[in-house]
Amino acid sequence: MKKKEVPQDKSNLESANFRELCYAVNENGEYTTENSTGWEPKTVALNNAIEEIKERIADAKSRVIAGETSPIEYYMELHKMDVGILASYVGFWQWKVKRHFKPSVFKKLSDKTLNKYADVFEISIEELKSMGR
């Protein structure tokens, strides 16, 4: 890549007001660096990935409302987590976290257990429990 070809496309970096560093060659063929505001092919890929996450959040939300899963799954998606990541944050086995997705099991969870989830999601137990009601 030539220094003058380093892309300067619009991207999500703008919101944080920074440009990333790229390596490129100057007119004499010497390597140098150049800042880039973004490149469309990767911005599209990132935006698609974010769309995908939004769909997962919306899907989880409708399943909570329909009584098919517990709010824990919704908040997990909201925080871009999967079961493995959530399990390591709350300190439970993955199968246990999955069990807590069952509305019937969720209803019977102790405050101590709920508190672990609420802490990770940075909400109150009340907020956790009231979702979907």
Binding site: L13, S15, L21, S36, N48, K80, D82, I85
Partner: protein, 335 residues
């Protein structure tokens, strides 16, 4: 500790965080080592498809060595001794950090990205192998030199604790590191040769998911994705491949440009014309990786791709793999 401790530390922006922290800490200690030099000596370049693992619900490909490896190999090959510490208790981790700052010693930290408040929201994923330098404290805010950022920044005590104790894969556990002793004279020549040989070995490894073979493997998977997984998932997967290749930290072209910069610098240092020629070749291969990303983005942008277009980008990857096979064989002989 004193309410204000600011170490005289110069922030240099780098493409990649791990190289950047090493390079910046070396510079702080009076050794002028560029980012590409750290990357090359530490054998940072790689291609590896990680079967079974999924991140963001898509397959994982890495264009670089595992987190921490660049740093470990660089230190070993140059004879720099590093002190590394992990903590089970955040309080101990904080006390140890403060202790170092008071001794005027800037330290490297491994952190999780998800709670890094100065990153744009869109970039905050559960990725735990980010690196930064802490160079001081003002009130209850730590002064941070994050190598991928243009300027220095700061985090509150609570914010820093959160990122140091992020959970999930590669959980940092407060991981802190800094150089404690240096050789009298840094002998880069041998370290460069070792670094290059190691990279050639990895890229030519007889393992189906690593190096040149790994690139062919991914090309094969891309051909199958639309039929096996459906267009939507195939596009999601392809998008992730491009993101891994071009995301912040790669310097563009899946680290190929940084590596070409290293070969150029190494060629001059060793007086080796072949390396300088090979640097040009690596740049051209980097351009082909960029072309692949551009072509792939056309597929996932339209969301209505034909199987043909998947085959086309897979062909591009197969071509790159063939070129890299020849390239790394030549590189191995050049040192």
């Amino acid at each position: 500790m004193k309410p204000e401790t600011i170490i005289d530390f110069t922030h240099h922006q780098s493409a990649h965080c791990e190289n950047g922290v090493v390079s910046n800490l070396m510079k702080h200690n009076g050794f002028s080592i560029s980012e590409p030099m750290v990357f090359g000596i530490g054998s940072g370049l790689l291609f590896c498809y990680i079967p079974l693992l999924k991140v963001n619900h898509a397959p994982v490909i890495t264009y670089r060595a595992l987190p921490g490896h660049i740093f470990k190999k660089f230190a070993k090959r140059t004879g720099v001794k590093m002190k590394r510490e992990k903590f089970s208790n955040p309080k101990d981790a904080k006390a140890r950090l403060d202790e170092n700052l008071e001794k005027n010693n800037p330290v490297g930290l491994q952190v999780g990205v998800y709670n890094l408040v100065y990153f744009p929201d869109e970039y905050r994923f559960h990725f735990n192998a980010h690196n930064m330098v802490v160079y001081g404290k003002e009130g209850n805010r730590y002064l941070i030199s994050d190598p991928v950022m243009e300027d220095v920044t700061s985090l509150s005590e609570k914010e820093l604790e959160k990122v140091r104790f992020a959970k999930g894969a590669f959980a940092p556990k407060g991981h802190m590191y800094y150089p404690i002793s240096f050789p009298e004279k840094l002998e880069l020549e041998k370290a460069i040769v070792k670094g290059i040989k190691d990279t050639c070995k990895a890229m030519l490894a007889p393992v189906s998911f690593v190096g040149v073979k790994g690139i062919h493997k991914i090309a094969g998977l891309i051909r199958k994705w639309p039929k096996k997984k459906g267009i939507k998932t195939a596009n999601h997967y392809l998008g992730q491949v491009v993101r891994m290749q071009e995301e912040i930290g790669t310097g563009g072209g899946g680290f190929r440009y940084i590596y070409a910069a290293f070969l150029q610098e190494a060629g001059k240092l060793l007086g080796n014309e072949k390396l300088i020629e090979l640097s040009k070749e690596m740049t051209e291969i980097g351009d082909l990786w960029r072309d692949f990303a551009l072509e792939a983005s056309r597929i996932y942008k339209n969301r209505s791709a034909q199987t043909d277009s998947y085959n086309k980008v897979a062909d591009q990857l197969d071509h790159i793999a063939d070129l890299e096979k020849v390239f790394f064989k030549k590189l191995k002989k050049a040192v």
